[in-house]
Every structure is written in structure tokens, then in C-alpha cells.
């Protein structure tokens, strides 16, 4: 067992679970999607991205790419939120919430790829 590997896997899986937690629920209902959960998902995703920096293997490159995709999706979701609530007076209408949640849903897929790659690598390295 290796502490670095534990932290790495923990972060990647946590990024997916938080992301999924925010995503799940009625797509147009603001009450089903907590802003703190989105915030935590963005933060953990950023940490996961930085942890993947500097790995020169092919697997490392794909992991980094998946993480960057998730980051972009989540930051875009937060951007839509800020735009609707603070920049304009639209507020959290069902349409806005739906677009925020669907952006987060895209990030879920990217994070799922990350976790799958992690699992595949672990299985391949099993001794």
C-alpha cells in the first residue's frame, strides 16, 4: 500500500461522487441541486487535475485530459449560475437550472472515464 496512490485514487473518486451527487435529482428543480455540492465538486476536480500534472505516460495524458474536460464543464456550470443570479435578474428558473445540471452531467461522464481508467490501470497492474 502506498499513501500517494491512496490520495490519488481518493481524489479522483471523490471528484466523481461529488459531481454525481450534484447532478442527481430533478433536472429543472433548484431545490435538488445544492450550491455547496457544486462548489465542492469544482474544488476536488481542481485538486485532481493538479495531482495529474507531470505524468508522462499515455495513461497519465488521458487522465489529465479527462480531468480538464470535467473542470471546464463544472466551471461553465458555475458560470451559468453566477450569470443567472448575479449578472442578470433571471434567477434560478427551471431552464437555467436544467442547463447548469446538464453541464455538470457532462462532467460526470468525464469523471467516470477518469475512474474507469484508474480501475483499468489497477487491474492491469495486479500482481
Amino acid at each position: 500500500m502506498n499513501l500517494e496512490k491512496v490520495v490519488f485514487a481518493f481524489t479522483i473518486i471523490l471528484a466523481l461522487t461529488l459531481n454525481f451527487g450534484f447532478f442527481t435529482g430533478d433536472i429543472g428543480n433548484a431545490a435538488h441541486h445544492n450550491v455547496y455540492e457544486l462548489y465542492a465538486a469544482i474544488f476536488v476536480n481542481a485538486i485532481a487535475t493538479i495531482l495529474k500534472f507531470g505524468d508522462r505516460t499515455h495513461m497519465g495524458a488521458v487522465l489529465l485530459a479527462a480531468s480538464l474536460v470535467a473542470d471546464i464543464q463544472l466551471v461553465a456550470a458555475a458560470g451559468v449560475w453566477v450569470y443567472a443570479v448575479h449578472v442578470t435578474d433571471i434567477g434560478l428558473t427551471p431552464a437555467i437550472v436544467a442547463s447548469i445540471v446538464s453541464l455538470a452531467g457532462g462532467a460526470v461522464i468525464a469523471n467516470t472515464i477518469s475512474v474507469s481508467l484508474l480501475v483499468i490501470e489497477t487491474v492491469m497492474l495486479r500482481r
Binding site: Y39, I50, G54
Partner: protein, 564 residues
């Protein structure tokens, strides 16, 4: 470039993680701590405002407490995180700066830059390994001719000197070990425009390694090596090194020639000159008893040549345990009168100061001249920096290693036909050489003329190769006359004509040309430019061939036919 990005990313991982975490905690805290709005009601900051506040707090910009004045709880939180975030930023920026100064990164960047510069070269160039005395001289004279080179040297200060030198051409240089194949490839030996590799490092083994690497990786590459040892030379020759230059042997051979063939020597001395340099007068080596101080590699080479030429050579050498030392050798430095007298300086005709120490050599010259002012003095100069001392008119002939090497290699790289010409010239006697030197003086009285090669090919001699494909007989005399008046000959000398049958020294004007013939000419720069007309311009060549200007247009030809 990839490796550089990865290096930076990996090193920046810890500071970025810390920075992200600090920002996240500070932002989260602000959203959780209750504040108060302008109506005195409890108000929670949202993420948008919290992140905005943390962003300018972290960089200590300080736009104030927005959107409402903070409560004391919020201020306490902000106070703690101002200090933490500033410290984190200092750490992050410090890491970035340290990374930038990192030797590995700088080396990787320099390598990347060098590789890009070499790749962008789009004309013929040479790879020069070793930028010491010889290398810098060679590169300088190549630069003067606008010939490109890429340079490798072990020492950074030499590469800095290359970068700082003011010349019309920028040349890429890299501080790297030239004996590593990877570095040679970086320097461009696999580049399609790379014509030659010159190995000039101080280390024979490294030169050998460069030669092997170059020949293995690209057999058609021309490899020129410096070598001071006969075993290494044999090894280099065994795998086809194109030219191996031993500065001592090369100088000694020329000196041996000077004994009986002073004009032949003068000729080869002249052809090592740059154009415009003053023409040295003929040097008559006195015959008789010579003193040779120092029996190292230089002394041995000189000894062999002078003895072969029939001179008596008295060796003076401080180390009596030396192998192959002649039995009658006088033991000593030669810097004191006692040793010189013992060696018989008063009956000697000349002295060679051949020690590997410049102050000793100067001392030998001064002492010997005091004892016998009529001595002919040949000095070996070891350090280029000492040339002022040797320029003082005490020595008739000064041999400097880097000079001998640089001039010889320059000729090989820029005018390879000159060496062919000189070796063919040796077959003639000395009066022939004297005659030739007089003719050279006549065409260029002020200094050494320009020497250039000319290939009969479509790009370098368009008109001539066109005429040849039509079956016209073009002779050398058609090139060496003025295209304004073909009865006037240009002040040029055809030195060598190399064709499919072989190479001919001093060809006659009636010799016919064929495609891919190579010619070597000497003459003024102006006549070189004039000759370009005959080579490239069909009207000029047509006039040279027939004495009449040929019509170039269809109409002109039709009119001419109608008139005749």
C-alpha cells in the same frame, strides 16, 4: 519542448495544490460565516461574492468589504487568510522563479533553442566540434565567407564567446559533449544540408569518437579530424575519415619541402592565405647544422623531415629518458648559454625552438640570437594569446598549432580542389613553381588573389551547360576572356581542371569542357564577377564562342535568317 512543460508542471504541483486548497477554504468560510446587510439583518455571502473577495484579498489588492461592511467574525476570517494566502503566493512565485533558474530546465531550453536553430538552416553548413583556438579561427573565417556552421563545445564560456562575436551571420552553439551521438544529432549531422563534421577538440579520443559516430550514422558525411597521435590517426583512417590533420606533421612536411623546393613551399604557403593577404617572399632555409630544442611530437616530426632533407640536426631535450632520443642529444632546456654552446650554436645555421612552453621558446630564441646573431630561427608558438610576443621580428618562421589547423581545414571545406592542385604541383620542379608564383604576382600584385571553384552544372554555369547539351565545344579560354571584347583576356589563372579522366594542373585554354567538370581559378574579385557572365549568360557565352551577338528572340532570329 514536451519535457520542459512536464518538468514545470511536475515542479509546480505542490504550490498549486496548496494555493487551490487555501482559496477553497477561505471562500467556503466566507459563505458560512453570517454577515449583516445594510438593514441590520443576517445575511450570508454567496459563492460569487466570496470568491471575488478572496481573489483580491489573496493578492492584497484590497477593494474593501463588499457588498456590505463585514462583521467582526468575517474580519477575523479575512485577517487569518490574508496572511496565509500571501505566504502561499510567495511560496508559489518562489518555486516558479527557482524552477526558471534550474540548471536542468535552462539546459533543456538551450538544447531546444539550438535544435530549432539548426533545423531552420536551409543552406549548406558544417558541424564544428570544439570552439577553442582552432575552432574559433575556423568559424571566424567561415563566417567571413557567409558559410554557416553549428558549434558544440564542452565549455559554456566558449559558447558565450561564439554568441557575442560580432559577425554578419548568427551561428547556433550549444554547450554539450560532442562525443555523445545525441548531441551530434542535435548539432545537425543528420540534417540534409550538413556537408561535413570537423572534430577539433583537445582530446584525441573524443575526436576519434566523433569521427566514428558521424561515419556510422551518415557514411556519406565528410569527416575532418584533428589528431596529435599516430595510433589514433591510423584508427581514424581505418573507418574512412576523409581528412586527418596532424598540425605537427603537416607543418614539418611543408618545412621539409622548403629545404630543396623553396618556391614549391612558397606556393603552398600562399594558397593557405585568405584573399588580400600580403604575399610572403620566398624563404631560403640555410643548409647545414640545425639545433632542435624539444623532442616532443613537434620536435620528432621536424627531426624526421630535416634529416630526410639531408640536414644535420642536433637535438636538445631536457628529458633524457625519452624514447627514440638520438644518442648525441644534449640534455637541457636550451634556454641557457651553456647548453646551447655544448650543442655547438656558433657553427649552427638555424635553431628551432620547439618546446611546449612559450616562455621557454622565447628564452631559447633570445639566448641563441645573442650567441649567434646569424641564426635562422623557427619558433613554435603554443598559445594564441602570445602572438604579440612572437610577432616581434626575432623568428623567421612561427608555427602556431591553431593557425596551421584552421587554415588547412578552411581550405578543405571551402576549396577542396586547392589540395588536389597543390599535390599535383609537387610533381613539377621548383622553376615551374617559381614561374607560377610570378604569374600569380602579375595578376594580383597587391596581395593574394581570390581562389574559387567552379562546377559546370545547370545552376552554377547555366549558359555553358546549355551549350554543352547542344553539342557545342566550350573551352576554358571561352571563360577566361572578357565578354566585352573577347580578344582581351581576364586576369585569371586556370589552376586545375578536374574531369572524368582525372585532374590536370594548369590546363591549357584549349581544353574542352564537359558537364560536371570542376575548375579552380585564381584572380581578382572583379574578374571572378566578369567570368560569371560567360558562365551564366547565353548572349555573353555566344559572343565568346562565335564572336557575334546571337539574337535571343524569335523575331530577331527570323530577321537574321531573312537577311542572310
Amino acid at each position: 519542448m514536451d519535457s520542459i512543460v512536464f518538468l514545470i508542471l511536475r515542479q509546480m504541483r505542490a504550490p498549486l495544490l496548496l494555493l487551490t486548497t487555501i482559496y477553497a477554504i477561505a471562500t467556503l468560510g466566507l459563505t458560512l460565516i453570517p454577515g449583516m446587510d445594510d438593514k441590520g439583518q443576517v445575511w450570508y455571502m454567496d459563492f460569487f461574492h466570496a470568491f471575488y473577495f478572496v481573489s483580491f484579498m489573496g493578492t492584497t489588492t484590497g477593494f474593501g468589504e463588499i457588498p456590505y461592511p463585514f462583521t467582526d467574525a468575517q474580519r477575523m476570517w479575512a485577517l487569518i487568510f490574508i496572511y496565509i494566502s500571501v505566504a502561499t503566493w510567495v511560496y508559489t512565485i518562489g518555486t516558479l522563479i527557482r524552477l526558471w533558474q534550474n540548471e536542468t530546465l535552462q539546459k533543456a531550453l538551450a538544447e531546444h533553442r539550438f535544435q530549432r536553430q539548426v533545423r531552420q538552416i536551409n543552406e549548406s553548413f558544417f558541424v564544428v566540434c570544439g570552439y577553442g583556438n582552432t575552432g574559433s579561427r575556423l568559424v571566424k573565417s567561415l563566417r567571413k565567407r557567409l558559410i554557416r556552421a553549428s558549434v558544440l563545445d564542452l565549455k559554456q564560456d566558449r559558447i558565450d564567446a561564439l554568441m557575442l562575436a560580432e559577425h554578419p551571420l548568427f551561428l547556433p552553439g550549444l554547450q554539450a559533449d560532442a562525443s555523445t551521438p545525441r548531441n551530434l544529432v542535435l548539432a545537425g549531422i543528420m540534417h540534409p544540408m550538413c556537408k561535413s563534421v570537423v572534430a577539433l577538440t583537445d582530446d584525441n579520443a573524443v575526436n576519434l569518437h566523433i569521427a566514428i559516430t558521424a561515419k556510422v550514422l551518415k557514411p556519406e558525411l565528410k569527416v575532418i579530424c584533428r589528431s596529435d597521435s599516430h595510433e589514433i590517426e591510423a584508427n581514424m583512417a581505418s573507418f574512412g575519415t576523409d581528412a586527418i590533420i596532424d598540425p605537427f606533421d603537416s607543418f614539418a612536411k611543408d618545412l621539409g619541402l622548403a629545404v630543396d623546393y623553396p618556391y614549391q613551399y612558397m606556393l603552398s604557403d600562399w594558397f593557405r592565405n585568405e584573399s588580400g593577404e600580403t604575399l610572403a617572399p620566398v624563404m631560403q632555409l640555410p643548409k647545414g647544422r640545425w639545433l632542435l630544442c624539444g623532442f616532443g611530437r613537434f620536435g620528432r616530426a621536424i627531426h624526421r623531415e630535416l634529416v630526410d632533407a639531408g640536414m644535420t640536426v642536433q637535438v636538445i631535450e631536457p628529458n633524457k629518458a625519452l624514447l627514440n632520443l638520438p644518442v648525441n642529444a644534449v640534455i637541457g632546456d636550451g634556454t641557457e648559454a651553456v647548453t646551447l654552446n655544448q650543442a655547438g650554436v656558433s657553427e649552427a645555421v638555424g635553431i628551432i625552438a620547439g618546446a611546449d612552453d612559450d616562455s621557454n621558446n622565447l628564452s631559447i630564441i633570445v639566448t641563441a640570437k645573442e650567441l649567434n646573431p646569424d641564426l635562422f630561427v623557427i619558433a613554435r608558438q603554443n598559445q594564441q594569446a602570445n602572438s604579440r610576443l612572437f610577432a616581434h621580428p626575432r623568428a623567421e618562421l612561427v608555427m602556431e598549432v591553431s593557425d596551421v589547423l584552421a587554415t588547412k581545414i578552411r581550405t578543405l571545406l571551402t576549396n577542396p580542389l586547392v589540395d588536389d592542385f597543390l599535390s599535383l604541383a609537387r610533381a613539377h620542379d621548383d622553376s615551374w613553381a617559381q614561374n607560377l608564383t610570378e604569374r600569380i604576382r602579375k595578376i594580383s600584385p597587391s596581395g593574394f588573389p581570390e581562389v574559387w571553384e567552379c562546377v559546370i552544372a545547370a545552376d552554377s554555369a547555366h549558359a555553358v551547360s546549355n551549350a554543352l547539351t547542344k553539342g557545342t565545344d566550350v573551352r576554358i579560354e571561352h571563360l577566361t576572356h572578357d565578354h566585352h571584347d573577347r580578344d582581351v583576356s581576364l586576369p585569371v589563372l586556370a589552376l586545375l581542371h578536374s574531369n572524368s579522366q582525372g585532374a590536370f594542373c594548369m590546363p591549357s585554354g584549349h581544353a574542352s569542357l564537359a558537364a560536371n567538370d570542376r575548375l579552380l581559378f585564381a584572380g581578382s574579385a572583379a574578374s571572378r564577377a566578369r567570368m560569371q557572365w560567360n558562365l551564366q549568360n547565353e548572349v555573353a557565352l555566344g559572343y565568346m564562342l562565335t564572336g557575334a551577338s546571337l539574337p535571343q528572340t524569335w523575331l530577331g532570329r527570323w530577321l537574321q535568317r531573312a537577311n542572310s
